[in-house]
Symmetry: C2
Subunit: 793 residues, 2 copies
């Protein structure tokens, strides 16, 4: 675990003040740069030591057989694994022929800073070579948001004492040796030597390497060009072989002088374009980057981020750690989604090899809700990617004996890659999650283009899936059996509440969308009877409720299962210490499931239901998934456990800065980082999107004195400023802007001229703060921020 002191608390930076080689892999994830298309882990410039060397291109994967001890019909036969592509961030330095290596010589200082406004990773090293030559290295790395194919590194070496011959070797390296990750179910499979050389295009000051994958048939190109500034003579030469290219700069530098090398990088990958087209694309990108120059790239980057933060920033007064963490989280959500552009947004973005680089429901259920309110175009892009895989989802449904489309639980390209169906294929809610994201995008953005250009088809095909999955009983109630909800410790069940309500929502919004676009609906073969059947199923959906306990059963029979016998020394995550067999048959919950249902479909539950359900499920939820804390924060806040919500918000936000799940080395938890925003905005500000309405119901915990943020709503930017006693809503765009919202149940109209302020009544919980399973109590965040947590008010 990363100690909290590893990163000092600063509002706009994540700073590492000394290098801890034991935490190298974690810091590489934290310091990863990406624009959603290119991802560079925060590996040291000189490549080693490293935790996990990683350079990624979105959706650039290799395919390999999925093995089964006992095979079964419909099991996916091949998996897809994101591969470590050509490493272009490598720059080695020799000082009088001694290689800069932090493990040798003396490391006098080492600082890395991720600047969330500049969009750069800077590194400052003061190093004394084994031969006692002292230098300072300052490097600045960026992956450009505006220029999608481009990354750049400014590499400056100052010689601090006697004269030195400096040799800078800037490289492209394909097929780097990878780590071995055996035995860890959460770590990615590692494919050895995935790239086959196709072509090398070598100039004096740069090179382009072209490779392809063996099985998946993808081609890629990586190119580098350089600018160099140094006193006196600099010799430059470039050599290349199949799997590497190296541009070498050599110069003699006097004390107080420096060499500055700017490395421009460009990447391209494709399954369809020709080798020459790919080579020229990368050459073109290098030319464009060169035209901007490094200063220009920095400026564009800041402009891009200024615009993002202007409509996405969340200000948290009173809890500087959460302040830092939520910005860190938003920055990485942006990095994951900004320029993915019709590719998936993987669960770990492009920050590491975890989960094989797969995209899960995390995208639609956690990341897109944030992007829809902050960068809606990225949501539309991500859903257009889903739409581009619709044919594969239709085939999958057919294989499974179902109608419509069955989207994969985990995938890179669109094919199902889940090798354990009870926690994969059976988690059909992914389809309703996609539908919900389509609908939410339409409502929040006000843009109907997506719906017309594929969204409707997504809604219709997922609705068809649900109708073929569900059935009416003798009494007419509509059930869905044999599926798995969000909680992966309870699988293959009947009538999971979240799934049932999400399916009903899917059916309703599909029917409504067909009403809005009757012509398109007819084109998809939807007739009146079909839409009526959707509405009928939705209206008859069964929601299990335990009359005796007066709580909802997460699924049929759940509340009658045996309880988990938590021992004092219970080890977590449970799945590493207990068989699925035992987890499935007990009342133990991996992650928010019914709470997810109560967040998304809050109108289906009374306030008393919510309070009682939170009380019941909190005691049984072990949060072995990083997807849980943020949702628990939202519900805890809603039912009045504001300090508990604060604890959970902290956990969601700090997941990677604190390495709370001990696996940040494999990549960041993008959904939980998005969850920090969800915990604050949906939790403490109470944001809900209820049908066509935007609603808030703010209430701060004691430890947060003020919460300010902006959300986009139908082209407008709504500012929300929450204090302990009042909230103010403002509209920021244009003098005539008007925005209707609901505040604590009251309809309110905000105009640009007239901000609206409302006093907040103190929310009193119906029940006392519930306990969690032993060892799974969240860190008492509130308690650290004030001496007497129980005395606040």
């Amino acid at each position: 675990m990363i100690e909290q002191s590893a990163f000092p608390v600063e509002p706009w930076c994540v700073r590492e003040t000394h290098l801890d080689l034991d935490l190298l892999a974690q810091s590489e994830s934290v310091f990863a740069l990406s624009n959603g298309h290119i991802g560079l882990r925060g590996n040291l410039d000189e490549g080693e030591p490293h935790g996990i060397a990683g350079t990624y291109l979105n959706s650039f994967y290799e395919q390999s057989p999925l093995p089964y001890a006992e095979a079964g019909y419909g099991y996916p036969e091949s998996g897809q694994t994101v591969i470590n592509v050509t490493n272009g961030k490598l720059i080695r330095l020799l000082v009088d022929d001694e290689p800069l290596d932090v493990r040798y010589g003396q490391l006098r200082a080492h600082e890395r800073v991720l600047d969330l406004r500049a969009g750069t990773l800077t590194r400052t090293v003061e190093w004394v070579s084994p031969a006692q030559r002292r230098i300072r290295l300052h490097s600045t790395r960026l992956v450009s948001f505006p220029q999608r194919a481009v990354a750049a590194i400014e590499y400056v070496v100052d010689v601090l004492d006697g004269p030195a011959r400096l040799i800078v070797q800037s490289e492209l390296v394909a097929n780097e040796a990878g780590p071995a990750h055996r035995g860890d179910p959460w770590a990615a499979a590692v494919l050895e030597h995935p790239l086959v050389a196709m072509e090398q295009d070598v100039g004096t000051g740069g090179a382009i390497l072209l490779h392809r994958t063996r099985v998946s048939g993808l081609q890629m190109a990586a190119g580098m060009e350089h600018l160099v500034e140094a006193p006196g003579r600099v010799d430059v030469a470039t050599r290349a072989s199949e799997d590497w290219a190296r541009t070498t700069f050599v110069c003699q530098v006097q004390p107080g002088q420096r060499i500055r090398v700017v490395k421009l990088l460009a990447y391209g990958g494709s399954s369809m374009r020709s080798q020459p087209a790919l080579r020229d694309q990368v050459a073109g990108a290098l030319t464009g980057a060169s035209y901007s120059g490094f200063a220009g790239l920095l400026r564009e980057q800041r402009d891009y981020l200024d615009a993002f933060w202007d409509s996405a920033d969340v200000q948290v007064d009173g809890d500087p750690e959460v302040q830092q963490a939520v910005r860190f989280g938003l920055f990485h959500v942006l990095q994951a989604g900004a320029r993915a552009e019709r590719r998936g947004i993987p669960a770990k973005g492009l920050t590491g090899p975890g989960y094989d680089g797969h995209t899960f429901w995390d995208t639609e259920a956690y990341v897109l809700p944030v992007l829809s309110y902050t960068l809606p175009g990225a949501t539309a892009d991500a859903l257009r990617w889903r739409h581009s895989t619709l044919d594969l989802a239709r085939q999958r449904a057919q294989t499974l004996g179902l109608h419509g489309a069955a989207f994969p639980w985990r995938t890179i390209r669109g094919q199902e890659c889940s090798g354990y169906w009870p926690a994969g294929t059976a988690a059909f809610h992914i389809n309703a999650d996609i539908a919900a994201a389509v609908e939410q995008y339409r409502v929040v953005s006000g843009d109907e283009t997506l719906e017309i250009e594929g969204g409707l088809e997504l809604l219709v095909e997922t609705a068809r899936l649900w109708v073929s999955l569900g059935h009416h009983d003798q009494d007419g109630r509509w059930h869905i059996v044999g599926v798995t909800g969000p909680d992966e410790y309870t699988a293959v069940v009947a009538d999971n509440v979240f799934t049932n309500l999400a399916a009903a929502h899917n059916l309703r919004v599909a029917a409504a969308a067909v009403d809005r676009h009757p012509e398109l609906g007819r084109g998809l073969g939807v007739d009146v009877d079909e839409a009526a059947a959707w509405r009928a199923a939705a209206d008859a959906v069964h929601v299990p409720y335990d009359e005796g306990l007066r709580v909802h059963a997460q699924c049929e029979g759940f509340t009658r299962l045996p309880e988990w016998n938590f021992t004092a020394d219970q080890k977590y995550p449970l799945l590493l210490h207990a068989p699925y067999f035992d987890l499935y048959r007990k009342q133990v919950v991996k992650q928010a499931d019914l709470e997810m249902a109560m967040w998304w479909f809050g109108d289906e539950f009374s306030p008393v239901d919510k309070a009682r359900n939170v009380d019941y499920y909190e005691r049984r939820t072990v949060r072995d998934s990083s997807l849980s804390a943020c949702i628990q924060a939202v519900l805890a806040a809603e039912v009045g456990h504001l300090e508990l919500a604060h604890d959970y918000a902290y956990e969601a936000a700090l997941i990677d800065l604190g390495d709370l799940h001990h696996d940040s080395r494999d990549g960041l938890h993008i959904a939980s980082l998005a969850g920090a925003w969800i915990a604050l905005v949906a939790g403490f500000a109470g944001l809900r999107q209820c049908g066509p309405a935007l609603a808030f119901d703010p209430q701060l915990p004691v430890g947060i004195t003020r919460l300010r943020f902006t959300v986009r709503w139908r082209g407008l930017r709504l500012g929300v400023d929450v204090g302990p006693r009042q909230v103010t809503y403002t509209v920021g765009d244009g003098a005539e802007a008007t925005l209707d919202l609901r505040h604590a149940g009251e309809d309110v109209t905000v105009t640009a001229r007239e901000p609206v302020t409302r006093q907040l009544d103190k929310r009193t919980p119906l029940l006392p703060r519930p306990p969690q399973p032993p060892g799974r109590e969240p860190a008492r965040r509130g308690a650290t921020l004030r001496p007497h947590p129980s005395s606040g008010g």
Copy 2:
């Protein structure tokens, strides 16, 4: 599929009158010889062509990693696969240097006969070599029952026309090339070159080869010695290399003359004994066989079988095919179990590589019930094997977080080898099946030795498992959730009726056994409270019943699941055409499950229950398992559908002679072959073991005019002779023998002096004959035996 005409109907033989190379693999299984320790597939003497070359030693296996696309806690890491050991049945013949190969020259005649009384496989070949030399080969092969380590082949060649030089090469061959079985979930994994040579002991007329496995650390020896008779000069020489040994006989034979070679084979395998000990053991076995001579071996074999048939034969008048098939079945049950002696009895015996050579619940639930009534010592041996694996089962329970012992779903040595837990580990009923077999053996044999020497421990440790698996609800009812019953199309369910009743039975018999042996019970740590808890759980066991439909629910909620949508062109088995996900969530049943419960625990169901349940489940049972038909026969007979029972009995009995499941090539279905006996004896004679009582309630279908059989009961042999209108019970052992039984609810005492005859009332079904799923109607056996099935009475 094997056409019915492939094997003419004869009462005591299975005869193949011509060689069909397309059915070679199936016939190799049908003609396999085994004594439970050594197994020789019915490969042709000359080794090729072959379907699957197979020579097996019980429990001689190799270990290999079990792969998982997504691993989980408690998944078995390695599997065990029976291996094809050194082939000693190989005898090649050269006629004037042309090898005898049925694919070349002219095959004038080819007959193979499995003689069920002699215990031999004979083969007669008339062959004309490509050079037109005509010979007749007659070989007789046996695997000795009395001499466990010994097999023998008599190989006689007659030259029918001009003189010929005959060369007979008798071999031992290790690491034969095996078949590739990819893509078939039912076919065994094949391990290449599993044997590592250790030593070769070569004499003039024979050799011993010693090998070991690489990973599992087992050692084996195979030896051969020969006797030869031929006119004139015979040269004999033996050579050997690491993986082969060859004894060559050469002679010149005139028309009308013959060469006769007797090959004596011996096998030994061990995980513990030393290499010299193993070598000497095999040498000793060869000496013993040599002392008997081939004629002696034949005589001993027949004596052994005469004794077996004397107390095990079933005579079926009216249906000669079933007559033949039930004897064939009993013969293979005997071959599988006779001399297994503290090894498992695999699902396919030692007849083929199917299911990797694993032992399943088939043993305790299908094979041992037959052996307990016919060869009880074999039952005791098999259960002593289970007991020898108790420590592994205790470890498994601990791994799973349970108490007591959790026996493996599939194994060779005792470790769980199931790679898909919902249809493996979750099928905990295996433990109750073992307990039931222990109890049944005690009651049927009257022998308490097994109980004292391990049986009690099996009962206690399995009882402890159930208590840790089950739980009492608020109302005190006892439930078992999250387990899989016999029906593998319905998995990981709550309160499977069979499992619950079997667990309750296990708990009760364990408590009673502790009462019988209080001292032993205390030694196992059982106190009064523990036994009381067992009884309390058993008495409170929950049995789901659907009040609306007035049928038992196979498991909680089963009758409310969606129905399977059977199409007109439905393909079977369903598991090759539909995902588990869909099978599990629908009312479709792979194999008898509730019917199994009604057979074993008939007292828990009223006659009306049984009739209604049979009617309900028959419509939903697809018999995709070979374990189903015989149980369906028993219940169909009980509720009065005697013709349907006959159809099922036929299906169970003919499973391999007719290759009804299209996989007899991989080995025989020993449980279904035992099931032929079950269908006849438990079905038409109505044999039940109800607590301490032996009960009958006979009733024949129209197509069977008389059914006679013997069962062993507490050291006595009871003869049962059922006709259409009456039954006669006789006791065969000693003048003073007395046997109490229950006939159709009436207590009856049979003595050696006084057979008891009772008239039979015609059984009238409460409901009409139920239909089966489309395409799964059993062949109408009754209809083939008489012109107007509806007019019989």
